[in-house]
């Protein structure tokens, strides 16, 4: 019965996401099936949780579940119609030589391993007390998080101010299972890993022009323990890994949109990722702002058509809308940061050296990161060295800017021992940048291995 319920929940989630991604991908003329499935999952999680939240303001229980399920079905029907109208060709990306076969096989084994390992692990501390708790309480209250949860100081430890994409995806599973079940709540996270690894392979292949590099990057993701297997990783139920994957998709499609023939299909996917970012975690609003900010600069500089200005708006509306909602329910939350103003900046500016010392100690911890940050640092330096190329420049900025903002935010920490604040949360913040960092590594490796610009690149003029 549990398996049937789980299949129903995941199936309807994919129907809804599939509808959205079909509409977005059908513009391309041909659809890569792997890309289609991955985007269906990412957008399905965000859309189903958003519909549950919005619908929960008016309905509850079986009525709410039926409405959201009906919308998922309607979305699939609309997508079917769009497909029959546009009639794009469906492409299954098959390995083309022994190297790609080998790398694909290793990647498949890793994804299976993540599924098996996630069975062994429990939900992590935050996975249980920050994320699953919301799904559980909403389920016990007929699918709706009551105002009492947001307002009660007794549960402020669970960060009621955090957005609901992940917990309400778990809630969707609970509604189908008919019970709150911590074991099945974990099931979405290895799927996120699989989806993330495949998206990394796809985007890595496109950006470097070499499929083996894309596959290699996806394999290397497994060897960043903090992202794949350690505390706070993909297997313990934290929102940071899903956020990292959506940020990767946003960055990847923004880079893809720089090629004029791709922009028509890539920009709407980028915009949809922007909407998802602040809906997954509060830090997603920062990542959304960074990605939207650089997209706006690209538009201003004439690198993207001006008609795309409007696509930056929905993501920001989502971020602001969630804050307004929290204000309307008078959320009780732990105060982790003082207000950001000139006085607190000047007063606490001297914290920066200590903050960077803690961050340096963190990134050099082999047990958590291996040599990922060393490699990412060198890759970023290489991308900066290749500053005159737009892709390299943009990717370097999209890696470094969130890093600077994340480390700078601790200047405003309200904790008495602010370095404890840094030490306890910075591993998760850094993890959000791992897939994008790997993309940077891939681009650098591609250019080093193949000796500078690829043969198909257009002639280059300096600034």
């Amino acid at each position: 019965m549990s398996f049937l319920g789980l299949a129903g929940a995941l199936g309807t989630l994919l129907l809804l996401g599939g509808g959205i991604s079909t509409v977005l991908l059908a513009r391309k003329g041909s659809i890569n099936v792997a890309e289609w499935i991955c985007l269906s999952w990412l957008f399905g999680v965000c859309a189903i949780s958003f519909l549950l939240w919005v619908g929960g303001n008016f309905l509850n229980g079986a009525t709410l579940q039926s409405l959201v399920g009906g919308l998922a079905l309607a979305s699939a029907i609309l997508a079917r119609r769009a497909l029959s109208r546009v009639q794009p060709s469906l492409r299954i990306p098959r390995p083309r030589n022994w190297c790609e076969w080998l790398l694909s096989a290793v990647l498949a084994i890793q994804i299976v391993a993540i599924f098996l390992i996630s069975l062994k692990h429990t939900l992590g501390w935050d996975g249980l007390f920050v994320w699953e708790i919301k799904a559980r309480y909403a389920f016990l209250n007929g699918g709706v998080l009551p105002d009492a949860y947001f307002q009660g100081p007794g549960r402020a430890f669970s960060h009621p101010d955090y957005p609901l994409a992940i917990p309400f995806a778990q809630l969707w599973i609970y509604l189908w299972l008919g019970e709150a079940n911590q074991f099945w709540a974990k099931s979405i996270f290895p799927i996120f890993y699989g989806v993330g690894a495949v998206i990394l392979a796809l985007l890595g292949s496109r950006i470097t022009g070499r499929r083996w590099i894309g596959l290699l990057l996806a394999i290397l993701l497994f060897f960043v323990p903090q992202a794949s297997l350690s505390t706070g990783s993909a297997v313990v139920g934290y929102a940071d890994f899903p956020l990292a994957i959506v940020y990767l998709a946003a960055v990847g499609y923004l880079l893809a949109s720089l090629k004029p023939e791709n922009s028509e299909s890539a920009v709407p996917i980028f915009a949809t990722c922007l909407i998802c970012l602040p809906w997954i975690k509060n830090e997603g609003a920062i990542l959304c702002l960074v990605a939207a900010g650089f997209a706006a600069l690209l538009i201003l500089a004439g690198r993207l058509p001006r008609r795309y200005c409007f696509v930056l708006v929905p993501g920001l509306v989502m971020a602001i809308g969630w804050r307004l909602f929290l204000r309307s329910v008078q959320v009780a939350s732990t105060v982790d940061f003082v207000s950001i103003n000139k006085e607190s900046l000047v007063g606490n500016f001297n914290r920066l050296p200590s903050i960077y010392r803690v961050i340096f100690a963190e990134v050099s911890a082999l047990e958590s990161w291996g040599i990922f940050w060393l490699a990412a640092g060198l890759a970023v330096l290489f991308l900066i060295y290749r500053w005159r190329y737009l892709t390299e420049r943009l990717l370097a900025l999209l890696i470094v800017t969130p890093l600077v903002l994340y480390s700078g935010i601790y200047v405003f920490s309200a904790w008495n021992h602010y370095l404890d604040h840094v030490a306890s949360s910075v591993p998760r913040l850094l993890m959000q940048l791992v897939p994008v960092g790997l993309l940077g590594i891939g681009l650098a490796v591609s250019e080093i291995v193949y000796g500078g610009r690829r043969a198909t690149d257009p002639p280059v003029e300096a600034n």
Partner: protein, 188 residues
């Protein structure tokens, strides 16, 4: 205007982006310099994998769960902390038997991870009952407890805090805690 200047400075480059399709690759002749670069990259990738092997292999350790349990995670944590199995449902049952309107009072020790975890776990399971936390320094809470009107609360949880001697009974949470019902059980 400044934004426009910034955008121009950052992104007004003449060349077209390097994005290309998978089909757009070309064969590059292999020179000695390129070969050295490839060896360095291969070495770096090898080092990347080798540096994480100990952490990755550790993740494979441990048994698979024997059965699928609705409280899979909280029960596992409780068992680690208190040594007691299947505690989650027992705690829910104990709290459900109390009058619904009365909050759970949790005594937490400052800077004590076990106490903190136990308090949060009890709050997690106590829903929809209101929860109040009292943070104390040191192992005893007699003074704080004396200030509380007994009829204002449903139960008291002592998380790595010694309960006062004059408050007997309660449900043991292993060596680190105790849950004491203060209100009389609600009539069924």
């Amino acid at each position: 205007m400044r934004l426009l200047e910034l955008a121009s400075a950052l992104f007004r480059v003449r060349e077209i982006t390097a994005i290309q399709s998978n089909e757009g690759t070309a064969t590059v002749p292999l020179t000695l310099a390129r070969m050295i670069r490839r060896v360095i990259c291969a070495g770096f990738i090898g080092l990347f994998i080798w540096s994480s092997v100990p952490s990755v292999s550790r993740a494979f350790a441990g048994p698979f769960p024997k059965r699928i349990d609705a409280f899979h995670s909280s029960d596992t944590y409780f068992e680690k902390v208190t040594g007691l199995a299947h505690e989650s449902q027992r705690i829910i049952d104990a709290l459900d038997s109390l009058p619904p309107g009365k909050p759970l009072l949790v005594f937490n020790r400052d800077k004590d991870p076990i106490s903190s975890w136990l308090g949060m776990a009890l709050a997690y399971l106590a829903w929809p009952r209101e929860v109040r936390f009292e943070l104390i320094e040191g192992p005893r809470c007699d003074q704080q407890l004396a200030k509380i009107a007994p009829d204002s609360i449903g139960a008291i949880a002592f998380c790595n805090v010694q309960p006062p001697r004059w408050l007997p009974g309660g449900m043991s949470l292993g060596q680190y805690g105790k849950l004491v019902a203060v209100a009389k059980p609600a009539a069924k």
